[in-house]
Symmetry: C2
Subunit: 384 residues, 2 copies
């Protein structure tokens, strides 16, 4: 009996006295590090015997963990254990990795998340009072992996399809569809894994704040059959690519054939974040007969000219307003240049009389917390 109690006390003593930290919810099971403290501070720990320098590298210049690289301290030089405790981080999901003598290395304690064109570590910092993206005790929809054949690329491709609670019971109900795109260097898994789109929808639908709908998530990269992939700056195919054709010719017909959809423009939305927001603006402008609801989350729409951009699709405000039931533009206040571009676009749209909704996520940067909040604001406005 005494021995058991001693073991527990000893293992607690490994942390600071009064330490309230817990393993991050983004860790693989049983991994003790990284740990999040109640006040939002984060402790990282990494074992690198023989290293002369270990640093924490938050992914991105405006990452909520701070500006990197951040030097870590050797706790026990003999064992090569390096640690750092950061000041309170911005809530939400942050990509990160370690630099061991300048070599990028993932944290074995973290789940991996596809971003930066590779599988990357990430950490979840809870936001006090915000549970709109947590699994609550409400009915849950499914996320379905749907293989489909693309005539455009000649490949079997995979879409992730969210079906709302009750989809398999209410067999006469047909549903509207949101096509939802990730950002550069991410893929079809990102909106549910990093973004928790399914949980956001579950919670909104349970609260009767959103229409039950399907959400279709696909990779926004595609190369036409026989073509040579165009390399982008991150080593990914750059846009313009064949995704527009995949979406219009292959994916939408598959979804409308395989699921109980409302297959008309008034019941079809498209939104995306960053690169996916640019793709959304580009594709919906060229296909206003296909989409009536449009969301650009943190899209880099710099130097946007109402008269000429997107082939002049917004030049005739009256015609655009008649066709488009929602144009939603948003950004985080912490992503300076994109927020500035969005603010300018907002003013230009107002000036030109293009109806739209403008959203600002307070204190968040070019990161997933901005896009979770964006989705949470966007979805309740759809299909009404």
């Amino acid at each position: 009996m005494m021995r058991t109690i001693c073991v527990v006390l000893l293992s607690l003593a490994a942390f600071q006295a009064g330490d309230d930290s817990k393993p991050a919810s983004s860790n693989v099971r049983n991994a003790a590090y990284p740990r999040v403290h109640d006040d939002g501070r984060v402790t990282f720990r990494f074992t690198a015997p023989g290293a002369t320098k270990v640093q924490l590298q938050p992914g991105g210049a405006d990452n909520g963990l701070g500006k990197g690289p951040i030097d870590m301290t050797a706790q026990d030089a003999g064992k090569g254990i390096w640690t750092i405790t950061l000041p309170a981080a911005v809530p939400g999901f942050h990509y990160y990795w370690f630099l061991v003598d300048d070599m990028a290395v993932n944290d074995p304690g973290s789940e991996t998340y596809f971003g930066w064109a590779r599988q990357t570590s990430g950490i979840e910092i809870p936001e006090k009072g915000a549970d709109f993206y947590e699994p609550r005790d409400v009915p849950h929809g499914e996320v379905r992996v749907r293989w489909y054949r693309s005539k455009t690329t000649g490949e079997w491709r995979r879409a992730y399809v969210y079906t709302p609670p009750g989809y398999d019971r209410d067999l006469k109900t047909r549903y509207p569809v949101l096509y939802l795109q990730h950002g550069a260097g991410e893929n079809e898994t990102s909106w549910t894994k990093q973004g928790r789109a399914n949980l956001i929808l579950d919670n909104l639908i349970a609260a009767k704040r959103a229409q039950p709908m399907l959400v279709v998530m696909e990779t926004g990269y595609a190369t036409k059959l026989g073509a040579t992939p165009v390399q982008g700056p991150t080593g990914q195919p750059s846009i313009p690519n064949a995704f527009e054709q995949v979406l219009i010719d292959d994916l939408i017909p598959t979804i409308d054939a395989e699921y109980r959809t409302q297959a008309d423009r008034a019941s079809r939305a498209m939104a995306g974040l960053s690169m996916g927001g640019s793709q959304t603006m580009q594709i919906t402008s060229a296909h206003l007969d296909t989409f009536a609801w449009i969301g650009a989350f943190s899209a880099p729409l710099r130097n946007f000219d109402i008269k000429t951009s997107l082939g002049g699709a917004l030049a005739d405000a009256t015609a655009y307003n008649k066709k488009v039931k929602l144009l939603w533009i948003g950004a985080g206040t912490g992503e300076t240049s994109i927020h500035e571009a969005a603010t300018k676009l907002h003013a230009a749209l107002d000036g030109a009389g293009v109806k739209h909704t403008f959203y600002e996520s307070s204190g968040t940067a070019h990161e997933w917390q901005t896009w979770r909040r964006s989705l949470h604001d966007f979805v309740p406005r759809l299909f009404k």
Copy 2:
């Protein structure tokens, strides 16, 4: 025009003259390495500036890439590029990582796969003439991520559920169910990601070699609400754990309530690999009223005693034969000790008159190619 052609030639020149190698299908998109040659040789490449030693570490003692660690060669000391070309590898999926001055590091060119209790690199070596786990031009089922509330653990848990092609069309059809478990250090994603269980089922069903069925895949680790997790040797909770109770009390009732199942023992199978095979033998023996079809793939059933093991469930061969419609035992010939245990068990079952099927996967070890082949042999025997 000429310039374009020159670029292509230059990029080919980066490989050996006459090199027929291609990026592994397990790479993240656009990653050039690792590369698989037509004869099964594999070239790995890793950039580690400042490293004094870089090695390739195949995951596991009998990994089809060879016995590790395997020294890599510095190609260009200034840039820190290290490479190795291995002799022809055993076909199938192999876990691996790099050791950089003894520190384990994933390959940024590889997708990650949950194994070894963390996200790990892996490589797919094609098997000539074997396409039973490839995406063929046949109807594809879905893999659905199903959240459900576990009373046992007090958590929201996730199951992966394969539904066969036509599940959403043939609305009066009810389906039998296979519960399919991963091995130690893996999770609910492993059977579809590493194992390609969904593609194996798609192909068998299309060939009319298997009954359309549901396949339910869950994490075999669980801790009762309020209990302290028991640590296993890999840092994972060890068995015995609360998975039996989760399966019987929470998961099976959820699946039978949410899907069109045939909810009787004659329509319910359980199988698993390695640790999951042991769990299968243990759980089915205690619940023969729940399961009638049983598969143990590469289960470490050493020192198995027909009279006493599993609470003597197999001691009365006549009773067991009457209840159990299929007992399937298998192993790869390359996994010496487990193959030996399976062979002994096969003889003991024969001796005791316990009806069973014995399967050997030729030339494969304690790896996923053994388990893909096991599933491919097991599934056509079910529910007949």
